[in-house]
Symmetry: C2
Subunit: 189 residues, 2 copies
DNA sequence: TATCAAAACTAACGATTGTTAGTTAGCTTA
DNA sequence: TAAGCTAACTAACAATCGTTAGTTTTGATA
């Protein structure tokens, strides 16, 4: 069941609207207007407003899970793994910043797909946490509070969508280096 | 025009609902139910749904602006100022985590008060940025990308509401130290 | 050119939205 | 007790919501 071009347009335009106004405030008539059609016509391509949100969010969540699996099973140092997590977020976010905004702000409206989303999200966080705790145990990173480090890195990486659209491609190339420096090395001299 | 007790109850309960479902998905009948009254009765205390959101968000934004003004005009080192910003966020957020959640996710629905909100937010960010740039110039902190540091710290501090409600008072006492360590000192050995 | 499916349309549905108008119950004070 | 205010109520409104049914247009293929 490959997603048709027109359906993907609806998903992409909806992500922009969900980012700007939030899922509940966006009407099917809003989506239809930016698509240049009437609301009823949308139903030739999608089966509900819910489906649009689910397709946006779950495909992103699955990308994160797949990326994290690769990182976890790799033979790298803790610092390298943390850098790869940063790169993973930059890549997925820069490919679809509107979708990331929709995910961050509207996941609670997933309804029947909410449990599956929680599975993916919790699994991702557990892997992230395990990398940190393992790194502290092996003395590869300093002995900070693991929950605080996890929270801080996740907060920043999850907010990248606010920031990446403003950067041009040249600046995105340096972003992972700048972010690694700030997130991992700190600012104290 | 002091805010009556009943009105403050409505504001507090609304903040919880706005956090859980977002402003648009919360109905006046939802708010009335948790208040134990009918929707029409709410209008004896507030003049619109919009007013509830404005009162939640703008009082918080004004607290941040006032706190930042104190920090900016103080005679402290850059590192001390950054630590005080962390403490400011922890204090305001722990006093009203539901309000902070409402602010972060629902500011775009402020409508006629949106411009005022932007004024406060932009002024806050400008002061924050100035502290960082000044600190780099004076060699008090390391020479990182100032925008990346600003973005990273703000992302983490603005997400504190997700995290603080889970911590008991004992753990909140250590939070500013743990956060300062992670945000300012990094994890590289 | 005739056919047929995909994709647009019009019209309408029942439900729900924020809000208003008018009424009643409960308290405090004279 | 009577008066008056506060805060609750019932009932209803116009508007808008997601969605469905049925119809017409479009564009490719035979």
């Amino acid at each position: 069941m490959k997603t048709s071009l027109r359906k993907q347009e609806i998903i992409n335009k909806s992500a922009i609207l969900f980012k700007e106004k939030g899922y509940s405030a966006v009407t099917m008539r809003d989506i239809a207007t930016v698509m240049g059609m009437k609301a009823a016509s949308l139903y030739n391509h999608i089966k509900s407003k819910q489906e649009i949100l689910s397709l946006i969010i779950l495909s992103l969540a699955e990308q994160f899970t797949a990326g994290m699996d690769t990182i976890v099973t790799s033979e790298k140092t803790t610092l390298e793994k943390l850098q790869e997590i940063i790169i993973l977020h930059i890549q997925i976010t820069s490919n679809n910043p509107n979708g990331m905004a929709s995910l961050n702000a509207n996941w609670m409206h997933l309804e029947e797909k909410l449990d599956y989303y929680f599975e993916l999200r919790d699994g991702y966080e557990d892997s992230f946490r395990a990398i940190i705790i393992d790194g502290i145990k092996k003395n590869e990173i300093s002995d900070v509070n693991p929950e605080v480090l996890l929270f801080s890195m996740l907060s920043t990486l999850r907010s990248l969508y606010l920031w990446i659209p403003k950067k041009d491609d040249v600046n995105i190339k340096n972003l992972d280096a700048d972010l690694s420096k700030v997130l991992l090395e700190g600012v104290v001299l």
